[in-house]
Amino acid sequence: MRKFMIVLTFLGILAASVTLATTSIVGAGSTFTYPIMSKWTNQYFKLHPDVEINYQSIGSGGGIKQVTEGTVDFGATDGPLDDKQLAEFKQKRGSNVLHFPTVLGGVVPIYNVPGVNGNLKFTPAALAGIYLGHITKWNDSELTKANPGISLPPHDIVVMHRSEGSGTTYCWADYLSKVSPEWKNNVGVGTAISWPVGLGGKGSEGVTGLVKQTPYSIGYVELIYALQNKLGYGDVQNLSGKFIHADLASVTAAAAGAAKSMPSDFRVSITNAPGPTVYPISTYTWLLVPQKISDPIKKKIVVGFVHWVLTEGQKDAEPLAYAPLPKSVQAKELKQLATVQ
């Protein structure tokens, strides 16, 4: 009992001293950005030992919900808020929520076709056809046409997708809805959707596991995941008709390609962006910051942190296989940051 009291007192003192020494702010959301968020919060803490930023990767949906309820100071999401969600935020919090793109990522098709070693090339029609369930054989003309010189087997295609709600799925579905009207009308875009065909794997590791285990299967994972795990992945044809192998440069090119048409609130999808070197299945990931932060200390910290992420923090993107922001977007965002009250 005495020991217990001592420990309790000690913990009390510890907690008190921590709260005295540092101010902490809390963010929550996207799991896709977790690796870089943890690097950023860590780095920022080293630079500003009096500020502690705690980021919880609970998923984009959870991040949006919590920032709307005001239980966290900022959120992070892989898909921008829709108009309904924006209205809900305004109604609940009495101010707007601002989107700040932080880094970019891509989503790539992975496959397991015995006998095929090289990179397969996928046209938009091929990917949409496969995921709609119209293209069912590997030797379908849509695939053989794009892959001359590779003999594709006459086997059924086994389609894999993510089973849980995920920003990766959002990006993939967003791309398919842009290249296929049928997808747009019948399936739609979301972090979780009603799949016309296919089996669901849990997480990137689940999809990868399924694809590796199942001959003649196809799936999709984040570019970062494919690079870190040294997975081979297919090329995708962009708007200019070129087949592009995704890498950081081609993903950043997508952001640059879409920069001209960037709306003032940064709620933009950059899938299927124009440009000859663009990888078409690319996406931003966003920080969500309320425009009005009533606590002046918290406001200062949040603004300071976002500013650092948009400028200095961008250096951390590439080593972690995220593509950094194009300069023009960065400048626009810093302007928006100045409007936080």
Binding site: S60, G62, D156, S166, T191, I193, S194, G198, L210, Q213
Partner: protein, 328 residues
């Protein structure tokens, strides 16, 4: 003995005082114990009620929108916000039933061996190992399922099943690894330790005179075990099966990794499906929109009800089929 009279007086008093103080002591101790245990029991009961109540309240929107139809429709579309629970209920029931079908004979067999036939040290060592199985995190079972079990099923078990029993509708169709079948097998491995561990304890607790009496009547060792010891311990054994069933119904991570996560209803066990716990775990964190969240919470309520109903049915079955049940 100068103190004689005093001693005598105190002796005269002592039994009376002692008895009273003992009675008071026992009363207060009993009362305290009674209150404490009652409190423990009601807390658990209250937690169950509270969970039920919360699920009921929070699922109001989905219940109003879909009504009873929720239980009988197959759609699950977060975008058009059409939700139905049937494929998930089906998947949960089928995988759990399959798990029990495998785990009961296996687990009971192991328990009988460990309790009745194995030498004591071997029994203790094996039991320890089996109980270790219960402590393995379920995500490990899921990964082992994908990377070890599924290839084995795909290469050996399923071809054998299809060539011998392929005419049955439950073994028709193409096998892609992830399926009700794989989920059922993984679940059975996960619940066997519960059955073995508890059943062994109750078998060991069967009084020796029961066995001696049976032997004295000329029964062989196996006859004694099967006709006397097992029926005597039946209540405890069924208890262990219920525990295992509850675990199977609620298991999330391992199931979602091997069931294929497709909201559909297929007769073939080799097809992919979905379970209630799996879809809640998969979609709850990213669920945006009140109706979507509410529908997922209603699914949790449905799981609660399914567990309740299956438990009830299983108890009825036991009452109907066993002598012990009939007496009780």
């Amino acid at each position: 003995m100068a103190t004689g009279p005093i001693v005598a007086r105190s002796r005269a008093l002592t039994p009376w005082v002692r008895a009273r103080s003992f009675l008071r002591h026992a009363l207060t101790l009993d009362a305290a114990a009674y209150t404490l245990t009652l409190l423990a029991a009601t807390t658990i009961f209250l937690i169950t009620l509270l969970v039920c109540y919360e699920l009921y309240i929070q699922s109001a929107l989905a219940r109003e929108t879909f009504g009873w139809k929720f239980l009988f429709t197959q759609a699950w579309n977060p975008i058009t916000e059409k939700f139905g629970a049937l494929p998930f209920i089906y998947g949960t029931v089928v995988t759990s039933a399959m798990a029990l079908l495998i785990a009961i004979p296996q687990g009971l067999g192991a328990a009988i061996f460990l309790a009745e036939m194995a030498p004591p040290h071997l029994s203790d060592a094996l039991t320890f190992l089996i109980e270790l199985l219960a402590a393995v995190p379920s995500v490990i079972y899921g990964l082992l399922g994908i990377f070890v079990l599924v290839p084995v099923l795909d290469n050996f078990v399923v071809p054998a099943l299809q060539s011998s029993l392929g005419f049955l509708p439950i073994f028709k169709g193409v096998f892609y690894g992830v399926s009700y079948f794989s989920a059922g097998v993984v679940l059975s491995i996960m619940i066997i330790p519960f059955i073995v561990s508890v059943s062994r304890e109750v078998l060991l607790a069967v009084p020796l005179d029961q066995r001696e009496a049976s032997m004295a009547l000329g029964a062989s060792r196996w006859q004694t075990t099967w006709r006397v010891v097992v029926p005597f311990a039946l209540k405890g054994i069924t208890g262990s099966i219920f525990l295992a069933l509850a675990r199977a119904l609620g298991e999330t991570m391992a199931v979602t990794m091997v069931i294929g996560n497709t909201p559909q209803i297929k007769v073939s066990l080799l097809a992919s499906g979905y379970s209630i716990a799996a879809i809640i775990a998969n979609e709850f964190t990213e669920a945006a929109g009140d109706l979507y969240t509410s529908a997922l919470i209603e699914l949790a309520l449905v799981l609660f009800a399914v567990t309740f109903i299956i438990n009830g049915l299983a108890r009825l079955l036991i009452i109907a089929t066993t002598k012990q049940g009939a007496q009780a």
